[in-house]
């Protein structure tokens, strides 16, 4: 058992298989899952490509500094060609909205595309760029995010390997108490609950970007830090027993949790997307999601 922050293995095949299985079981999420399956193929190629690049020294933070990776330092000139290609392929697999926006971005040329990518990697708001393109910032964010996610995942894997080899100094990740990823600084996409031999009901947060999981305190809102039990509600449904909505009554935010104790075969990233009805229910309840998922829900 290792309580330290760690990335689950980037098993793209398992993600695809899970998405295909859920596609058969959950027709209500079919459009999302069909798109996800196609997108995972694109991301898998990007992950393989990024794994062969030597970017780690450029993006690694100084010893003892967190997050460990500074994605804004990625060489944009090397990425822009791939990003253009990604936009073209995304247009082929996407919905009308995705296709329209991808074509719009492609038509704007590589400089505009590079601006979008640079702003996203630097965690700057995309509002101005979205306004110039006449689209919603959340819709625009899909492209740099879907593109950067496998790159971040590949870099996180490289960083973990390097740290293991070098026994990296600095603050060990297991002492990480923050609500953002210790590796890439990304926000939490979801919570994962699991049992281990000596610790029952562990709660980990999973990064929306590099998929690193880090332990997070039970009974604490990752957004506002509320820790009063009466302010934190858990909602479950019989249809999806391994998924829950964790609501904070103080900030009205919510995060979905995937309970691997109830379904050890679940792939949190995929199951979270496939449980769209929970998001719709939360929306009706007036809650806002701490971090929309890859497909913008």
């Amino acid at each position: 058992m290792s309580p330290a922050a760690s990335a689950p293995p980037a098993d793209w095949n398992a993600r695809r298989l899970r998405a295909q299985k859920l596609l058969a079981r959950r027709p209500q999420a079919a459009p999302l899952l069909e798109f996800l399956i196609e997108l995972l193929e694109l991301q898998r190629d990007l992950f393989a490509w990024a794994g062969g690049q030597d970017w780690l020294s450029a993006v690694a933070a100084a010893e003892g500094e967190f997050p460990r990776l500074r994605l804004a330092r990625l060489p944009l000139e090397e990425l822009s060609g791939r990003f253009s290609e990604f936009l073209e392929r995304a247009a082929e697999i996407g919905t009308d909205v995705v296709r329209g926006l991808a074509e719009n971005l492609t038509a704007q040329g590589t400089d505009s595309q590079r601006l979008v990518l640079a702003a996203y990697l630097a965690r700057e708001p995309l509002d101005t760029l979205a306004k110039a393109l006449g689209c919603d910032p959340l819709q625009l964010e899909f492209f740099p995010r879907a593109f950067a996610q496998p790159l971040a995942e590949a870099l996180a894997a490289q960083a973990a390997q390097a740290a293991q080899t070098a026994k990296a100094d600095g603050k060990p990740p297991e002492e990480w108490h923050e609500n953002f990823c210790p590796v890439c600084g990304g926000p939490p996409q979801l919570a994962v609950l699991l049992d281990e031999a000596l610790i029952k009901s562990r709660r980990l947060l999973e990064c929306a970007l590099c998929r690193t999981r880090w332990p997070f305190r039970r009974g604490l809102c990752p957004h506002c830090g509320e820790d009063k039990a009466e302010q934190l509600e858990i909602h479950t449904t019989e249809d999806l027993p391994h998924l829950r909505v964790e609501e904070c009554k103080t900030c009205r935010g919510y995060l979905k949790a995937v309970d691997l104790r109830k379904d050890g075969l679940a792939v949190p990233l995929v199951d979270e997307i496939a449980s769209i009805e929970l998001d719709l229910w939360a929306d009706e309840r007036g809650l806002w999601k701490l971090q929309p998922n890859l497909v913008g829900i």
């Binding site: 609950l193 305190r217 009974g219």
Partner: protein, 291 residues
């Protein structure tokens, strides 16, 4: 009965087949009763245990649980374990005070091959005597609750001794004294069983129909018992349903002794029968002459 009468007369000694001769004075059996329904998970008992027993502070960190440490250790004799389960549509936290249960039939003692390394007092406390411990860790394997912990530096094994020095002085164990909600009670075993019955009645009236006393028979009962609100969820509390104390070394020694005594008696009997049937053996004069 006054608990200060609970002297430290020995009842069992490891690797010693003979039962210890009972003293003239009858000592009361003592017990702790942990009412999990009253526990708020504050972990004050963990701190009290560390302080009183002067156990080393072990740095810990957040690992996504309410537990303070991952596991028991030679310097952590008491650990509150937390498990979140859904019962009746509600999320419940099941808490377990993980420490030595001080079994009436202690598997650790039965497994121990080192004379005097583990003793059981008449009051029920099972204590480790590290001076006699040979570090074989048989006790670790013999404990059905997985409590004793081996220290690789000292090559000895450690666990809760129910604050035996306090008990000897007529005081309650440190965890009992510090508990802010009186979730842990202390007294004679008989009184604690009666108290548990009262608590179960209250819990039953509050709707906890499966509330139960955890005092498993497979180990002869324990001297740390639990009142468990959800008695049908013992596995979720990480409490073994039917723990059994294996009488390994002790029973082997007893069996060998019985067989030896039988063979010795049979030998004497055979000699006597041979004497009666054949008479005394006389020297053979012919063979004597040849010699």
């Amino acid at each position: 009965m006054n608990l200060s009468d609970s002297s430290l007369a020995l009842k069992r000694i490891s690797a010693s087949p003979e039962p210890v001769a009972p003293g003239i004075r009858q000592n009361p059996e003592i017990a702790k009763l942990v009412d999990i329904s009253r526990c708020i998970g504050c972990k004050a008992c963990e701190i009290a245990c560390k302080e009183w027993n002067e156990l080393k502070v072990e740095p810990t960190h957040n690992f996504g649980s309410f537990q303070s440490h991952v596991d028991l250790s030679p310097d952590t004799w008491l650990l509150m374990r937390f498990n979140e389960v859904e019962i009746g549509g509600d999320v419940k936290w099941l808490i377990k005070k993980d420490a030595c249960h001080h079994c009436e039939e202690p598997g650790c003692l039965f497994a121990c091959p080192a004379p005097g390394a583990i003793v059981q007092y008449e009051n029920g406390i099972v204590d480790f005597n590290q001076e006699n411990c040979i570090g074989c860790q048989y006790c670790v394997a013999g404990c059905p609750f997985d409590i004793p912990r081996f220290n690789a530096e000292t090559r000895k094994v450690y666990k809760c001794n129910m604050c035996i020095d306090r008990v000897e002085a007529g005081l309650e164990p440190a965890c009992v004294k510090t508990c802010p909600t009186n979730a842990i009670s202390y007294g004679t075993k008989d009184d604690m069983v009666l108290l548990a019955e009262d608590k179960l009645e209250v819990l039953n009236n509050r709707g906890f129909q499966n509330a139960a006393l955890y005092n498993p028979e497979g180990v002869g009962g324990t001297h740390m018992m639990y009142v468990v609100p959800y008695g049908d969820q013992l596995e979720e509390y990480d409490l073994p349903e039917s723990p059994v104390a294996e009488r390994g070394a002790i029973s082997a020694l007893g069996a060998i002794k019985t067989i030896g005594a039988f063979l010795f008696g049979a030998g004497i009997l055979a000699t006597a029968l041979h004497y009666l049937a054949v008479g005394p053996d006389t020297p053979d004069e012919n063979s004597h002459g040849e010699g």
